[in-house]
């Protein structure tokens, strides 16, 4: 194990030295360790962490920060519309580590983790389906929850919620299932 693993002592120290993991500053979110790699650093970092014992990628999801352009991020991280959130788990050290990767709206692509953590196959398909983020070199990037011919990506913030009109209801103002605005 490298010396960069966060320990409780390091996190609660009164004047903490900036702890880094593979050259990236380790930030704290409600007591949980978070790293903010760039898209270029992402795959290499996950590979190094895999060698460090983070053998399982338990979760991969995304957030559309369209409505929150000025959200707080560590220094040096450029806000982008999308954020891919990866939760890694080390069974050996019983620690978790979260990666938050900024993905711009103009080019919503990011490399796939499939070759390192094949368990992300379905999760990346879900993120593609729900957010339209394309995972390059993914073996089977198709919609997973929505039908093949669906338009738009439902979990984007500019995608209307919509509702199905209730039959025989006096309230006829309910809109039909909405597509993208």
């Amino acid at each position: 194990m490298s010396d960069s693993t966060p320990t409780e002592q390091e996190q609660t120290a009164p004047t903490p030295e900036p702890v880094t993991v593979h050259g990236l500053p380790l930030t704290d979110s409600r007591g949980q360790a978070v790293l903010h790699p760039s898209r270029e650093q992402y795959i290499a970092l996950v590979k190094k962490l895999l060698d460090d014992g983070y053998a399982m990628c338990v979760d991969l999801t995304a957030v559309d920060y369209l409505l929150r352009p000025g959200r707080p991020l560590p220094d040096g991280i450029v806000h982008e519309r999308f954020e891919v959130v990866v939760n890694l788990l080390s069974l050996r050290d019983r620690t978790r580590l979260r990666l938050r990767v900024q993905v711009p709206e103009s080019d919503p692509t990011i490399a796939t983790l499939f070759d390192l953590h094949p368990g992300t196959e379905a999760m990346e398909r879900e993120v593609y389906d729900m957010f339209g983020i394309v995972f390059t070199d993914h073996p089977d990037l198709t919609r997973i929850l929505m039908p093949e011919d669906w338009d738009g990506h439902p979990l984007r913030k500019d995608y209307d919620q919509g509702r199905i009109p209730v039959q025989f209801s006096a309230d006829s103002s309910a809109t039909a299932v909405g597509g993208a605005r």
Binding site: S29, G31, M56, C57, V63, L67, P118, T142, M146
Partner: protein, 444 residues
């Protein structure tokens, strides 16, 4: 043409299993190789994939989405060569109702009603993980009253029992032990009857809420739990007679749907599937939440990673849960069942009659909800099916900016192609059953 260009041009690829003639050997080997964490050439040397089988030798058939053994609306596309399964692809989404999108418009107070409907076989664990994530964002995760914490443990363990009893029933039904279906359902009903007494509902309780639980335990709850344990203990021994030691049952399950430790870790499988490969990983012990560090229980592991191990693990986990429930009975403290924080939980009913301020707080909480500080967090607990996680990103308002649930079934279902490869189509039913997916959680 790269995948990016294909998608930009508006021609999205089809979801289904591609015929073999449209695949290259590289694509086939990549799937196997990456799961084993080895290169394609090493995977080829293993010879697990008969890459030379042509289209005229194989047949793609659909199993589901309306098939009794798929536990809902799971559709499996199987590529068969005779009776042998060469490849398989689970197709999901038939039960997708956009619960994560819905969660963005419900307040934290209302969120429980949404998440409890995801894994409908263990609703209380869903509520628990959502509540724990919300409490972590609020910064009150250390202030929850002891009684609420122990009540949550009691309900979570009873829910694990009812969920595994349901597995016993459906697993028996799938494999032809039809009487087991009736027995499993009968025992589960005993647990659900207790839930009904406590929460008012058999399922989808919305009982565990941010700040504690919705109500105190009813009078006589202790006798009810003891009676429940007394009823179920001998019946588990009957299951052993009916199934565990029975030659037909063992023949049907042993050596079927084998998955290795390496594959399970690579695929992100958790819960009984991971433990069946011999990895002793249980979040209740390894990353304790609530007061699991204060109770005694064993983590059940298997050694072969087959369907029989997964059955035996679940059966014994019921026994371990009963052990925990007995300890909870001994240690259940008295006190409040929810935090007395007027910004998070409604005031006691009696206060509303005498205090204008209490009335206002009550009104505000139920109309506007409570505001949660900006931030993001991921909380994971051990549900009967594995690690259920809740990722909430808050923007400081009363509704989550993004609410994501890491559903164990959704991830575990990816193990099926690897468990089924090279097996017989008749064993597919046993394998699907042993993964124990709940489709409400898979599709969300």
């Amino acid at each position: 043409m790269s995948i990016v260009d294909t998608i930009r041009s508006g021609n999205e690829p089809e979801q289904g299993l591609q015929p073999r003639s449209e695949l290259t050997a590289r694509e086939l080997l990549r799937e196997v190789g990456s799961v084993l964490r080895m290169s394609e050439s090493e995977a080829a040397r293993l010879g697990e994939v008969p890459v030379d089988a042509g289209d005229d030798q194989t047949m793609i058939i659909n199993m589901g989405p309306q098939h009794p053994s798929t536990h809902g609306v799971l559709r499996l596309m199987l590529e068969l060569q005779g009776e042998e399964v060469l490849r398989c692809k689970p197709i999901i989404g038939y039960l997708h109702t956009g619960m994560e999108k819905t969660g963005e418009s419900l307040t934290y107070m209302q969120g429980g009603t949404n998440v409890t409907r995801m894994d409908y076989a263990s609703p209380l664990n869903n509520e628990l993980v959502f509540s724990l994530a919300t409490e972590k964002l609020l910064g009150i995760d250390g202030d929850i009253p002891e009684r609420a914490v122990w009540m949550r443990m009691l309900l979570s363990e009873l829910n694990r029992m009812s969920s595994h009893l349901l597995f016993m029933a459906t697993n028996g039904m799938d494999l032809g032990a039809v009487s087991m279906m009736i027995y499993g359902w009968r025992e589960r009903e005993e647990v659900l009857r207790f839930f009904q007494k406590v929460t008012g509902l058999r399922m989808n309780h919305n009982f565990i809420r941010p700040g504690g639980v919705a109500a105190d335990l009813p009078d006589g709850w202790r006798d009810d739990v003891l009676r429940l344990l007394d009823v179920i203990t001998p019946r588990l021994d009957e299951y052993d007679v009916l199934m565990t030691g029975q030659p037909i049952w063992r023949e049907r399950l042993q050596g079927v749907g084998i998955i290795t430790e390496q594959e399970a870790l690579a695929l992100g499988a958790t819960g009984p599937i991971l433990r069946s490969t011999g990895v002793a990983w249980d979040l209740r012990r390894d990353q304790p939440y609530l007061r699991y560090s204060e109770v005694e229980f064993d983590v059940i592991v298997g050694s072969y990673g087959d369907a029989f191990d997964r059955y035996a693990i679940r059966l014994n986990e019921i026994r371990e849960s009963m052990k925990i429930v007995r300890q909870v009975l001994d240690r259940m403290p008295s006190g409040d069942y929810r935090i007395q924080n007027k910004k998070v939980t409604p005031p006691p009913r009696a206060r509303i009659d005498e205090s204008m301020e209490a009335l206002i707080h009550h009104f505000k909480i139920f109309t506007e909800g409570f505001k949660v500080p900006e931030g993001e967090t991921y909380v994971a607990i051990e549900s009967p099916r594995g690690e259920i996680g809740c990722y909430i990103a808050s923007d400081g308002s009363a509704t989550p900016y993004r609410m994501h649930v890491r559903a164990p079934s959704f991830v575990n279902i990816q193990c099926m192609p690897h468990m089924l490869r090279g097996g017989l189509v008749a064993d597919a039913v046993a394998v699907i059953s042993s993964v124990d997916p709940v489709l409400g959680e898979v599709d969300r």
